[in-house]
Amino acid sequence: MVSRRDFLTLTAAAAAILGPGRAGRLAAQDRLTETELLAFKPVGNVTILHLTDLHAQLVPIWFREPSTNIGVGEVRGLPPHLTGKDFLAHFGIAPGTAQAHAFTDQDFVELARRYGKVGGIDRIATLVKAIRAERDGRTLLLDGGDAMQGSWVTLQRKGADMVAVLRALGVEAMTAHWEFTYGAERVKEIVEELGFPFLGGNVLDTEWEEPVFESTAFFERGGVKIAVIGQAFPYTPVSNPRWMIPQWSFGIREERVAQHVENARAEGAELVVLLSHNGFDVDRKLVSRVPGIDVVLTGHTHDALPQALLVGKTLVVGSGSNGKFLARLDLDVRDGEVKDYAFKLIPVFADAIRPDRETAKLIDELRAPFRAELDRVLGHTNSLLYRRGNFQGSWDDLICEALLEQRDAEIALSPGFRWGPTLLPDQPIRMEDVWAQTAMTYPQVYRIEMTGAQLKEVLEDVADNIFNTDPYYQGGGDMVRVGGMGFTIDVDQPIGRRISEMTFLKTGQPIDPARRYVVAGWASVNEGVEGPPVWELVARHIEARKVIDLPKAGRVVVKGG
């Protein structure tokens, strides 16, 4: 198979892929070039480019892939539930290479210093333009949502910066999730401002159950009629504040997806693409039950896979997050079916790719009014600061520490978001870095009393949203992060039985179900929550500490999986 051959070439030549770099920081055998990153043996008449979960990262960042990404039930041990060495072995990637660095957490700090930052919309623009030039009239660029949240600039501009950027990139359709956290009125404005289709076939109004957004957009590329069906994050009103979008109801709505596919075929679509924010496991299940989808471009779970996964007759593509990757999928579509394909998830190594000049200028303009605030140095970190992973990242440890100290609490709770880039050790911590972990529309830090029993209920509830064996019953992000408390989790148990050995770290005693604890947390989905925005507390904490030196986490013990 072409894709397989291409992939093997690619990995075997792992060293070659990492062609000549610019800063001279790369070993000779490991140099990166734009040409090598773009290298691709074209196939067929259609090229789909996919970006997803950009989280408003306009400029290059570091982003460490997870150490823990557990799959339960039928997907145990299957991609994307592989990390580190297992991931490298499964995909035949040599350790220490740029590919290994892009896709795993292995030797992260050392390799991050060697290969430099990733992402940057101006670099993505260069890649997109090059591929468009090569595949003139055959290329379709799609965004999977979560483009407009994750930075101070986008929060201040209510997504308008990303509207400008997506337009500049020439995105041709998108779906959404965090975009909804600007509230219904702003979303309606965004839909108008985009100038390209905002798709969400699974969103209905709560009153009449009528569609709120378009479900499908049609394109013709390389002589092929393509239907793109949009699927917004199905649990937006559960995982994020429902009060911000009170008239809109979501859900997976399998029957509706099937209907959209049928309608698209009836209108002559030769290629049906589901542009989805369902998450990887939900999409894998969906395409095993809904026939007629040729390609699903998945998002939400931030999984970056170097191959397209074949599920039945459907290709499942996971394109990572934060602008770290651009997915290219070439398809040979004839007689209404995919005859052949080739795929590459291109790591956007920022030092190897020339910034597109116009896009770089646009980004500078968008950031300029906030520059001074963004660049304000709060302190210095000796520790690697990252978030992504099923459990406790060091950024979360720092946030929880800030919550405990700044709000004089006994226990801290911080959401298991998947967004938030990485900071290497021995770096200044800037205000922009704090905002990249916290910028959102419901940042208030509450302070309340909860009993030990209630704390257990919270942990059990969130754990079931990740480790329910039926992906359709999973919602939200990774496990809630905690400060001041340790626990053991057995992911293979049902709800109510996963969490044990909850320990109050201050005393080393077990958490008492009947005792009341003072709890500080943020990102409550309730309306009318009062408290200071979390970034203020975290900034104050870092300024007070000056140097961040986090002890090794280890308060969460994981069993099973």
């Binding site: 559960v238 209920e457 992000g477 989905v525 309730n526 009062e530």
Partner: protein, 156 residues
């Protein structure tokens, strides 16, 4: 048993009402003790006697995770020609985790044309909702679907 679990639920919901519980939202999923399974089974027996319900014919559409446990949409339908000698007489909806198991019964006649309805119901916690159809030939058909009621939050 039922009373005490309801009381603890009230307490927690009150804490959330204060606008503050960690991940916010309504309802709780962490205690799927199925305290009312016996009630649902008893009610089913009252409705259909000793008949053994068969699987099939009935379709029950509900969200996998409720957006709002206070008002969860449901659609129930029965595959039936709805002719004078072969039609669906009634569809019952039962909930095996609510304080009361009975939710509603919709009656049909051949002139209904279709045995299908949509409504909304409350769910006190994560539980199974049952749809039970009685046909004119005396046969009984049933399906169950699990609906999760979660605290929510942690939006990925």
């Amino acid at each position: 048993m039922i009373r005490s679990s309801a009381a603890s639920r009230r307490t927690v919901i009150k804490a959330m009402g204060a606008g503050a519980l960690a991940m916010g939202g309504v309802g709780l999923a962490a205690a799927p003790a199925r305290a009312d399974l016996a009630k649902a089974q008893k009610l089913l027996k009252e409705l259909i006697g000793d008949k053994a319900p068969q699987e099939g014919k009935v379709r029950l559409e509900m969200p996998q995770i409720a957006e709002n446990g206070q008002t969860v949409p449901l659609t129930a339908a029965v595959d039936s020609p709805m002719t004078a000698d072969n039609y669906c007489k009634v569809i019952h909806i039962l909930a095996d985790g609510n304080p009361e198991a009975g939710v509603c019964s919709f009656k049909f006649t051949p002139s209904s044309g279709r045995a299908e309805f949509s409504t909304r119901m409350r769910l006190a916690q994560t539980q199974n909702v049952w749809a039970v159809a009685e046909m004119s030939d005396g046969s009984v058909w049933m399906t169950k679907t699990e609906v999760k009621v979660t605290i929510g939050g942690c939006g990925g």
